[in-house]
Symmetry: C2
Subunit: 213 residues, 2 copies
């Protein structure tokens, strides 16, 4: 989702349903309103309706721009161009014995994009220093990323205990976010200077054991 | 290293070598001066002599209180009661096939102590939001914690490539710090609510593969 340059007058976008004309400003206003709403109510407690009210737009307009709450939240987290559902599909779809490799590669390639790094660092800074951001991030990670990944992988494997599933998602999150912390924020040279595919090779067995043992 | 209650008059401590009487204030002043010196020069660039000069004390006084730069840095990072050398010994000493288990247990039990958690969170916040803190932390982790651990474990196994060693230390750091990030800061329920020994069981094979494959 690359932003087109804002046109003078802001009316170049096709007119959507809703009370107000939708230009880039409207879209940006909704994202800002969503950020406030997630901060106030957490990810789980926030609703698209409440965000629309806060932004002063028709709720239908939100559905026009985003597939749902997860996509909108990802944008407030400044993750552009990668939707949660696409990320989940990249990890889940394919041979089960290569889940770990796909998980490591999908997350690293998302964060490694030069325009994405500063946004990711900003997101992590916010989550580490602000309790409300931390709450929104943890609810998002659990309900929209790692929960669905583990659930999809366990489909048809009813022997897995639900509680075990949850821990597995948390372990996967700890390794991936920990790698991001070390590579992009703390910049430990050992991992900051490594080629992405070298890291994928090292991380793949760990992710495999956590996600699809 | 529990702090004794400060005595009125501040002269209860035995008088050490050096220019100034050493009370709790002097010790605290040195820790504060060390924090400034590490911020200004990074971990690698800071010296005990420079810290002593900044604190206005004799360098010998620093050796009176701390075993060396690593111990002093750990205290500026508010890690009390666990010296880097003791932590390394806990991981390295013992059967090689249980290195991963000892590593996971040593770090988790250090951070899980109730008085330690807020300090660890403060340290991580500082490193994530401030470039100088990040630099000091990464140099400390590389040269005083994970570097020495991997080096000690590879002793007598000359087939290990030095470059591979460095990556392995970075991987171990990414998993352990990532778990701390998720458990104490983001507080993902999956791992924040888990019993430490359950996490040790899950993390042990990962740490074993990174540290002593």
């Amino acid at each position: 989702m690359t932003r087109p340059p804002a046109a003078a007058g802001g009316r170049s976008a096709p007119r959507p349903r809703g009370r107000r004309p939708a230009g880039e400003d409207t879209r940006g206003n909704i994202v800002a309103a969503a950020g406030s709403e997630f901060a106030a109510h957490g990810y789980a407690g926030a609703s698209l309706r409440g965000i629309a009210r806060r932004a002063g737009v028709d709720p239908a307009l939100l559905h026009h721009y985003w597939d749902g709450k997860a996509e909108l939240f990802a944008e407030t987290m400044q993750v552009h161009g990668v939707s949660p559902s696409a990320l989940i599909a990249r990890v889940v779809d394919g041979p089960r014995d290569r889940v770990g490799e796909r998980a490591a590669r999908s997350f690293l390639s998302m964060w490694d994009r030069p325009e994405q790094r500063p946004r990711f660092v900003a997101m992590l800074r916010s989550a580490v220093t602000d309790d409300e951001s931390a709450r929104a991030l943890r609810e998002f990670l659990a309900s929209e990323i790692f929960g669905p990944i583990v659930l999809a992988l366990d489909d048809g494997e009813p022997s897995m205990e639900p509680v075990d599933r949850r821990v597995r998602g948390g372990l996967a999150a700890s390794q991936l976010l920990g790698m991001a912390l070390m590579r992009y924020v703390i910049q430990l040279p050992e991992v900051a200077d490594s080629e992405p595919e070298d890291l994928v090779r090292h991380l793949a067995p760990t992710m495999q054991r956590y996600l699809a043992p």
